[in-house]
């Protein structure tokens, strides 16, 4: 089996050296970019990365700039490395299309869990859902190609947004709890005061609303979300 390839974009060289070593010992192939532009160049030239670890605080081109620019040409899953408690950073990252975030300082077990979850999700679609496609009203979802169309128009969704919508669609008309979304999409237990699922759903809603203003996803306060059947 080929090793999964992780791209680390962080200006802290001592940290990236250790991360490199740590991930390699755990069986990953690792590339390191120590500034934003270098990271973008790497993504541009050879886009064979499975996960990108992207630091927010970098000189010249920060993590948000990199994320914004890379989303123009690729949807590789991104984990943002943010400062803990800085809601603004976290929310902005998720809004710009990050798949997950990991507050610094992070625990190595947590890091491994997040990376694994994103890679697992990716292979999951590639292997087991080859022919699977779902239609709910005007929304049609093709798992194999990871494409979604709404009212005939194609939606540009990140991996996490796609996975969330796919999960909601599989159980359309039924409540899907935030805990279930977190476990199946992000591969981790829902933590208290964690709003990332809400952010991803909000992104999906915005993208759907840009095409058609009909309400599609209903929030059930404190419980979860329902994809409405027409």
């Amino acid at each position: 089996m080929t090793h999964s390839h992780v791209l680390i974009i962080d200006d802290d060289k001592q940290l990236t050296t250790m991360l490199d070593e740590f991930l390699r010992t755990n069986g990953y192939e690792v590339s390191v970019a120590n500034d934003g532009q270098e990271g973008l160049d790497r993504l541009n030239h050879a886009n064979h990365y499975d996960v990108v670890l992207l630091d927010v605080m970098m000189p010249v081109k920060d993590g948000f700039d990199v994320l914004r620019e890379m989303r123009h040409f690729c949807f590789t899953p991104v984990i943002m490395l943010t400062a803990r408690g800085d809601d603004y950073d976290r929310i902005l990252g998720l809004e710009l299309g990050a798949d997950d975030y990991l507050p610094k300082p992070f625990n190595h077990r947590e890091l491994m869990a997040r990376i694994k979850a994103l890679i697992r999700r990716r292979t999951h679609y590639d292997d087991s859902n080859q022919a699977l496609s779902i239609e709910i009203g005007e929304i049609s979802i093709h798992a194999s190609s990871q494409k979604v169309t709404y009212c005939g128009q194609q939606l540009e969704l990140t991996g996490t947004e796609f996975a969330t919508l796919f999960l909601l669609a599989k159980q359309a008309g039924h409540l899907v709890s935030k805990a279930a979304i977190s476990e199946q999409v992000l591969g981790r237990k829902l933590m208290e005061f964690d709003r990332s699922i809400d952010m991803h759903v909000s992104n999906i809603r915005k993208k759907l609303a840009a095409i058609n203003d009909q309400p599609t996803i209903k929030t059930v306060r404190g419980a979860g979300y329902i994809l409405l059947c027409p």
């Binding site: 802290d12 605080m57 300082p105 208290e192 005061f193």
Partner: protein, 460 residues
């Protein structure tokens, strides 16, 4: 609001009324002076026609006196002549005998001025002319005779003029006063508005260039802008410092964590090293939590974040749903009263984290029940909205109640527990409440638990 209290509360209105009244008074004074000095009196020599008129009047008076016999009797008779009214001056009694007239006072004055004259002259004082004097004797007494007749210009030539002038003056003075008042009040208003924006955390708010003139108010505006620049600089400096602290302190912690990870891999099965590393990991987590809380606290104390209008529901929904989730994970019941449908003006993140801290504290210490009450207090002086969080834990000692909002203060019950936190949550809540001109208070509930009440001013 009554007019008086409106005037009392508005410099603009006061200036307007004061200035307008002054203007009107000044105009009135000038008009009166002009009226008084107005020399529309014309003095002329008598011509032959006037002499004839005087002669005719003299003859008429003598004839009338011969017929009636008393002075009083002829007075009324002489009043109604087409050729002019006769006015007599009694030299002996020094008294004017004139028929009743609208202009009696002026007439008497004019007569008195003419009695010294040896030959007749003519005074034109619209609306009448007075010609005389002609001496004559009636019943052996000396009299002077004058003829009063309508002048060339009657009163009708300017009856409406004063009203028209008054109207024009009124309009002009109102316009002028409004213009003047606005020139003073507009910059003051703008200063006020800008200061409010600054107070609400809009650091780019400045008084516009056009108000920064050379006059005193302009200087005030310029000074105000300089002050705002300085404040904004300080604030930016502080924000940068906070961000730097956050970044600089966390980077070594992140590296420490990674080093622990590598060491852990190398340690393989050495239990002693593994335990020690686990300990290092735990302590890094505590330090990290403290850094986060200290940052939140200093942000809340600086109270610099921008305030925004949002509905109470929108503000509290994420906090409450998260708390509900956390409580359910711990098998504790979490109840919330109805959320009042009001709009509040707050620093969203700060207030959310303040309330969150109080609720999490309650969840941590509750035996099995947490209750959140939301209410709106419609006090006229200080309208506010309140959050009251009650748990069914063991409460606190009276001494602790005073101190739990101090940073790093931890009551006994908190120290006993593993989940004690770092002792900054309630300090953050207090700082947030203070920044919103509110109040926070902890009391022991009658059923034994702790009750924390937060109130936020609506106007904050």
């Amino acid at each position: 609001m009554s007019i008086i209290s409106r005037v009392r509360h508005s410099v603009g209105l006061r200036l307007l009324i004061g200035f307008w009244a002054t203007l009107l008074a000044a105009i009135l004074c000038i008009w009166l002076v002009a009226q008084w000095q107005k020399s529309d009196v014309e003095i002329a020599r008598v011509d032959s026609q006037d002499i004839r008129l005087l002669d005719a009047a003299k003859q008429r008076t003598l004839r009338a006196f011969n017929r009636v016999g008393t002075i009083e009797g002829i007075k009324d008779l002489l009043a109604n002549s087409r050729k002019g009214r006769v006015v007599l001056y009694d030299v002996g009694k020094q008294r004017v005998l004139s028929p009743p007239s609208r202009f009696k006072r002026r007439l008497d004055r004019d007569v008195n001025e003419l009695i010294e004259q040896s030959t007749p002259i003519k005074i034109s004082r619209p609306p009448y002319q007075l010609i005389g004097p002609v001496p004559l004797q009636l019943a052996g007494k000396d009299f002077l005779l004058f003829v009063q007749r309508p002048g060339k210009e009657g009163l009708s030539s300017y009856p409406n003029a004063p009203y028209f002038i008054i109207l024009v003056l009124l309009i002009m003075s109102v316009l002028f006063s409004v213009f003047f008042t606005r020139s003073i009040v507009t910059p003051i208003r703008e200063l006020y508005k800008t200061s409010q924006q600054l107070a609400n955390g809009d650091w780019r708010a400045r008084v516009s260039e056009k108000q920064c003139k050379k006059d005193e108010i302009g200087q005030l505006a310029t000074g105000f802008n300089t002050m705002a620049d300085k404040l904004a600089q300080n604030w930016q400096g502080q924000q940068r410092l906070l961000a730097d602290v956050s970044h600089e302190l966390r980077s070594p912690l992140t590296r420490l964590n990674m080093a622990v990870a590598l060491a852990e891999q190398a340690a393989k099965d050495n239990a002693v090293i593994k335990t020690a590393l686990l300990r290092i990991e735990q302590e890094t987590a505590v330090m990290e939590e403290m850094i986060g809380k200290v940052l939140t606290l200093s942000r809340a104390e600086a109270a610099m974040a921008k305030k925004e209008d949002l509905s109470l529901l929108e503000l509290l929904e994420p906090v409450l749903s998260n708390a509900e989730f956390e409580a359910s994970q711990l098998n504790k019941s979490f109840t919330v009263s109805a959320i009042p449908n009001i709009t509040v003006h707050v620093q969203r993140d700060a207030v959310q984290s303040g309330i969150e801290n109080v609720i999490r504290n309650a969840i941590r210490h509750a035996k099995g029940r947490i209750d959140v009450q939301l209410s709106e207090v419609a006090n006229e002086h200080q309208p506010c909205w309140c959050v009251t969080v009650t748990d069914d834990g063991s409460g606190l000692a009276e001494d602790d109640l005073q101190h739990i909002f101090s940073p790093f203060y931890r009551a006994e019950r908190a120290r006993d527990r593993k989940s004690g936190g770092v002792g900054l949550g309630l300090a953050i809540a207090k700082a947030v409440v203070t920044a919103h001109h509110g109040n926070i208070e902890a009391t022991n509930h009658s059923d034994g638990g702790l009750k924390v009440s937060l109130s936020f001013s609506k106007r904050s």
